[in-house]
Symmetry: C2
């Protein structure tokens, strides 16, 4: 029942160019400047010309509310000089980028398009008349959750509290997620935060929604990312190191947390990852590097279990053992994750893909490069789990 | 350069079910109730079961700003009981429905999906903290147009004034667009307005943006529409009267009006329609019935010319001759168009398709049924023309 890109694929999909704009508070850049920066970087990386592009997909969550601008994909086509190429904005809350990427893979796999640009962008720091947290509440069920005062820190705090009760996760283990991601982010020149932090700093940061503290929460970031897709058989026209998309699967779940069978499991992640593994015969132990959706520290804990990297209730122990650092058995969020690299919501899903492509190419800064990485996984989540996208990438040898 | 569905199509696309919620001020229905009403009607029409659906696409422009709800497609999946099927919201301003439909056609044509639901929805009458006109300004270039006070009535007024100057269109001819569409709407039980109006009433209605008056403008409507797509070879499992999608083509242009080579032509419509005609060998004179994007009366005038139904500057004379009424040589906007049927912006592109499917099936109310219609055209526009989608539909004999 989950949607498949490669289930009946006509042809394989390759990524031949990536680009990214630095994440953070970019007071001198608007939506279009961020997009142009990432888009031109990706085009230069792939060596493509605008006139060869068949289709533009743009992931964006809330430009209408953040900066008054809808019709975002047409804006991108316009400012990248790509008219009259058709341009489609895709929205699935914080999974907007992942879903745009999936639609881009579909376009190539279908045989109907030969060169597709997938961008993701969010401008979050110039909000007028609303708090960013209020805008982001549009990702939950407005009438049944946000209207009654729920916020995303509050929703994830419920999940964290229940998980700690059920499985004995300690507050220190939760903090270790943020400590690891800030450590990785310290090597990433494009990250929102590059400062290392300690468990004590997390535990002493402001309380946001018990048990979550400020350093458990990803920041409000401006940012953009872009990838360029072609059929695998054409990829070497553009690059010597094509990265193949083995699978990209999306699944849905209830918007509301209270309707889930278990608030400590994201069934959409479970569904999407199981289908991705089934389609490819790849298993979690084959993955060399992963980007997962750590919008809050608890989200990374749940992701590791929902993706099958460990058994239910055991993710905390992976932090005790340091296995999730670069150099460990499964480096996770090597760019700093949403926590340190930043979370420009509509860009995040594409930003994860850019990081993994660079990892598989062996192009990232030393300190966070996973040596010899061949197989990678990305997990992008919308809301509290109503949408999940799981992508498997591989270096073509 | 325009995107093609059927340019290299793997297989033909058919519409096997349609559903619609009445347009208008629906104070007792929210976003989800409208969607459910249209979705269940389409499912019943096609006789499909939820578990057979492979993919959900939802056109929606501004639910985030109108009612605080993003993540609209996941909401639809949830409330139609379709989890974990993947659900994708598509946004392209007032062309959101048309672009969602195009993406749905692509999904079927690709061979990757066998049963796709395409919905469109907008809830516009419950806006908090902003005027609807301000929300809709998100469809233009916010920084270069809306920020300086431009509104859509103002933008289209510029086009109307210039067109009247260039081509001698009279104020009465412009009014005749609204008179015709209200006449057609009077036969449509689902229309926002069912009252007939006269040229004098249009000329005496409140001035909105010179030369446009209140009755030149489409209303702020709540509404939803839904279609169900399958490969043509499967269509007769669901219906005795499949409607084939011969082409569905999207094109982009500048967001800003001032950057266009000619503000009396929508180049995106020209590009998309020329490509649709080229792909299908269908010409404008083959069309039996059309739905065009009359967000303002001048928009229908431009559409007739941009789509090739008459020469530049001559559309006004078609109204003098009454050719665009049911019974004339080319009935246009037989449901009342955006003007009388209503303009729930994200739903409009899908609503047009629903009307044409019903026309081709011979199912609409007498008074507005085009007898023996076999070939139909829809044109859906985003903003002042930055996005256009042109669709050609045909009754399978």
């Amino acid at each position: 029942m989950t949607s498949k890109v490669n289930g009946f694929a006509k042809r394989d999909v390759a990524i031949v160019g990536v680009g990214i704009a630095p994440s953070g508070e970019q007071w001198d850049k608007g939506l279009r400047e961020l997009t142009i920066e990432a888009g031109f970087a990706a085009a230069a990386d792939a060596g493509v010309r605008g006139k060869d592009i068949d289709l533009i997909l743009v992931g964006n969550m809330s430009a209408g509310t953040f900066v008054g601008q809808e019709h975002v994909a047409a804006l991108v086509a316009d400012f990248l000089g790509l008219n009259p190429t058709s341009a489609v904005r895709v929205e699935a809350a914080c999974a907007s980028g992942g879903v745009a990427f999936k639609q881009g893979c579909l376009a190539i796999a279908s045989g109907l398009y030969d060169l597709v640009v997938v961008g993701g962008v969010e401008k979050m720091t110039d909000v007028q008349g609303k708090w960013a947290t209020s805008v982001l509440s549009g990702a939950m069920d407005f009438e049944w959750e946000a209207y009654f005062g729920a916020t995303f820190p509050g929703i994830y705090a419920l999940m964290a509290r229940r998980y700690m009760y059920e499985y004995g996760l300690t507050r220190e283990q939760l903090a270790a997620v943020a400590v690891k991601n800030h450590y990785h982010g310290s090597f990433n020149p494009l990250a929102h935060f590059r400062n290392k932090i300690t468990v004590d700093q997390v535990l002493n940061s402001s309380l946001i929604a018990d048990p979550l503290r400020l350093f458990d929460c990803s920041p409000i970031s401006d940012g953009a990312a872009c990838v360029i897709l072609t059929p695998a058989e054409n990829a070497r026209k553009y690059t010597d190191t094509p990265i193949l998309v083995d699978a990209c699967v999306q699944a849905s779940d209830t918007l509301t947390l209270f309707e889930r069978r278990d608030i400590c499991t994201l069934d959409a992640t479970v569904e999407a990852s199981r289908e991705a593994y089934r389609l490819t015969k790849i298993s979690p132990k084959d993955i060399d590097v992963a980007e997962v959706h750590d919008c809050f520290t608890i989200a990374e804990i749940l992701a590791l279990e929902d993706l099958g990297f460990c058994k239910k209730g055991e993710a905390g122990t992976l932090y005790d053992e340091g296995q999730l650092y670069v150099g460990g058995s499964l480096p996770v969020n090597t760019d700093g994750g949403l926590k340190a690299s930043g979370h420009p919501v509509g860009a995040t899903g594409v930003k994860q893909i850019v990081e993994l492509v660079k990892q598989l190419r062996g192009e990232v800064e030393s300190g966070r490069q996973v040596k010899g990485a061949e197989q990678a996984l990305a997990q992008n989540v919308g809301g509290s789990g109503a949408t999940a996208v799981v992508t498997l990438l591989r270096r073509e040898n």
